[in-house]
Amino acid sequence: MWKSIIYKEWLKIRWFLIGFTALGILGVGYLFLTVQHGFTFSGGKNYWYSILFMGYQFFNPIKYAPLAGGLAIAVAQYFPETVNKRIKLTFHLPLGENKVLLMMHAFGAGSLLFSYLLIFGVFAGFSIFYFPVQMITDSIISIVPWFLAGFVAYFLVALVVLEPVWKFRFYYLLVGGFFVTIYLQSPDTAAFGPANTGLFILTATLSIALLFSAYRFRKGEM
C-alpha cells in the first residue's frame, strides 16, 4: 500500500523536485563560478583572506534556495489535496488516517532531503577543490540552518494548507513566518554553531505538525 501512496505523491511532485534539484545544482555551479572568478582576479590568498578575516560569505547567494525548495514541494504535494477537499479520498483509503498522512509526509520530506543532499554534495565537492577542511566546515555550519529552514517551510505549508478554517491558517502563517526567520539570520560565518542542534530538534518537532490541522479537517471544523 505504501507503494501506491508513494506513486501518487511522486506523480504530484516529480517535476517540481527534478526542477528544483537541477536549479539547485546549477546554482551551486554558478556559486563556484564566482569563486573561480574571485580566485583568478584577486588571487587565492586575497580571496581566502576576505573569507577568513573580512566576513565574506561566498555561499550567500544560495541562502533562500532550500526554503524555496521546501515551499515548492509542499505546495506541489498538498495543494492538490485541498482542491474540492480531495484529501477525503486519501482518508477514505483502508489505512489509518495519520498513518497515510505520515507516509505522504515522509516521502515528501525524504525527497526534499535527497534533493538537498545532492545539492550539498555538489557544494562539498567543489569546496574541497578550493578550500581546506576548516573553511568548508565553517561554511557548512553557516548553511545548515538554511536547509533546516527548507524543512520547516515544508512542514508548515502542509499544516497551513490542511487547516480548514481560514482564520487559523492566518495564525499559523503568522507564527510560522516569524519562526522561520530564526533560521535565516545573517550572522558571522560559523556563528550558528551552538544553535544548530536546537534548531534541528525544533525542526523535527514540526514534522508531525500537519496531523493537527488534518485532525481538525476530519472532525469537520469550519
Partner: protein
C-alpha cells in the same frame, strides 16, 4: 439480516443553527436506501458523518457495527465512497488512477473498470481533469466497481450528468448491487433516478424525518386527492390527516396517508361541498414535492 448502517440519536448543529435532532435510521444489508430532501436539510452533513468527516454534536453512526468516527482500515476497505461532484485525483490519467487504487484493495477487480473505460473515448494519457463531467463520473463509478465494496455511499451521484450517463450509472449500480448483495446509501436531487434505483426511502425535511420506509410502501400509502371546492374559503390545511395541501382558487391537491374513504367521509361529515374527487397516481417526484411542499 443485520444493519450495514445504523444511526442513533444523531444530533448536529452548525454553531447555533440546528440541522437535526435525534435522527434515527438504519440501512439493512443488501438494500438500497435513498436519502431525499431539499437543499440544506442535512444530506451532505449525514454523508460526512457517515464517512467520518464530521463529528456530530451527539449521537452516533455505526457502519458494520463500528463507530464511523473511528473506522478501522478493514471496514474502510469494504466501503466505496463517491464524493459529490465525482471528485477525484484528476491530475492522474485512467491508467495511473487504477494503478494507484489497486494497491490498496486486495480484492481489486480490474475487469469492470476497464470495461467501463473502454466505453470512454479518451486517450491513454489524458488527464481526468480534462474530461467531461460525465466521463469523470464513469471513471469514479468504474473505480468503485473495481474496489468491489460491500457498502457504497454515493453523495449525489447524478450531479452534473446528462440523462444518458445517469441512466448508465443507475442500471449498472442496481444490477451490480442486487447480483452481489451489496448495500447502497445514496443521495440525489434527481428524484426520477432514485425511483429506478432504491428499495427504501428516507425523506428529510428541516430538522426532522418525514418518511422512512420501503419505497413501495411509501408510494402506496402516501396519496394525492384532487377535488374542487364549492366554497374556496374553506381551509383544510390544519386538519390532522392532511400532510400537505396545495390550493389554487378552488382547486385543491390534498396529500395524505389516509384512505380515500376516510377523506371522502371527512369532507361529507364536515359539510365540505366538493366535486370532481379524484385519486391521482403519483411518481416519486410528485410524492416528494407533495410531502415536502413546493418552495
Amino acid at each position: 439480516m443485520s444493519n450495514a448502517i445504523e444511526c442513533n440519536n444523531l444530533t448536529h448543529y452548525y454553531g447555533k443553527k440546528m440541522v437535526y435532532e435525534n435522527l434515527n435510521f438504519h440501512v439493512r444489508e443488501g438494500s438500497i436506501l435513498g436519502l431525499l430532501g431539499k437543499n440544506g436539510v442535512g444530506k451532505t452533513t449525514t454523508i460526512n458523518i457517515l464517512n467520518g468527516f464530521l463529528q456530530p454534536r451527539s449521537g452516533e453512526c455505526l457502519i458494520f457495527g463500528e463507530n464511523t468516527q473511528h473506522l478501522s482500515p478493514e471496514s474502510k476497505a469494504r466501503i466505496g465512497f463517491l464524493i459529490e461532484g465525482h471528485v477525484q485525483y484528476s491530475f492522474m490519467n485512467i491508467h495511473q488512477i487504477e494503478k494507484f487504487y489497486s494497491g490498496f484493495y486486495p480484492n481489486w477487480k480490474p475487469a469492470p473498470y476497464w470495461d467501463l473505460m473502454s466505453k470512454l473515448k479518451v486517450t491513454p494519457t489524458q488527464k481526468i481533469s480534462t474530461m467531461s463531467c460525465g466521463q469523470r463520473s464513469q471513471v469514479a463509478l468504474g473505480l468503485i466497481l473495481a474496489q468491489d465494496p460491500d457498502l457504497l455511499i454515493l453523495d449525489d451521484f447524478s450531479m452534473g450528468l446528462d440523462p444518458g450517463y445517469r441512466r448508465l450509472f443507475i442500471d449498472y449500480l442496481r444490477e451490480y448491487a442486487k447480483a452481489e448483495n451489496k448495500t447502497i446509501f445514496t443521495t440525489s436531487h434527481i428524484i426520477q433516478d432514485m425511483e429506478r434505483l432504491i428499495d427504501d426511502v428516507l425523506i428529510m425535511d428541516y430538522n426532522r424525518v418525514l418518511a422512512q420506509c420501503p419505497i413501495s410502501e411509501f408510494m402506496s400509502d402516501f396519496k394525492r386527492f384532487d377535488f374542487e371546492l364549492e366554497n374556496d374559503q374553506v381551509d383544510l390545511k390544519k386538519e390532522a390527516f392532511v400532510r400537505n395541501l396545495e390550493k389554487v382558487k378552488n382547486k385543491v391537491e390534498l396529500y395524505t396517508y389516509e384512505s380515500q374513504d376516510f377523506v371522502q367521509k371527512f369532507l361529507t361529515d364536515n359539510g365540505v361541498a366538493h366535486r370532481g374527487f379524484n385519486h391521482v397516481k403519483m411518481e416519486l417526484e410528485d410524492a416528494f414535492i407533495g410531502l415536502t411542499g413546493k418552495y
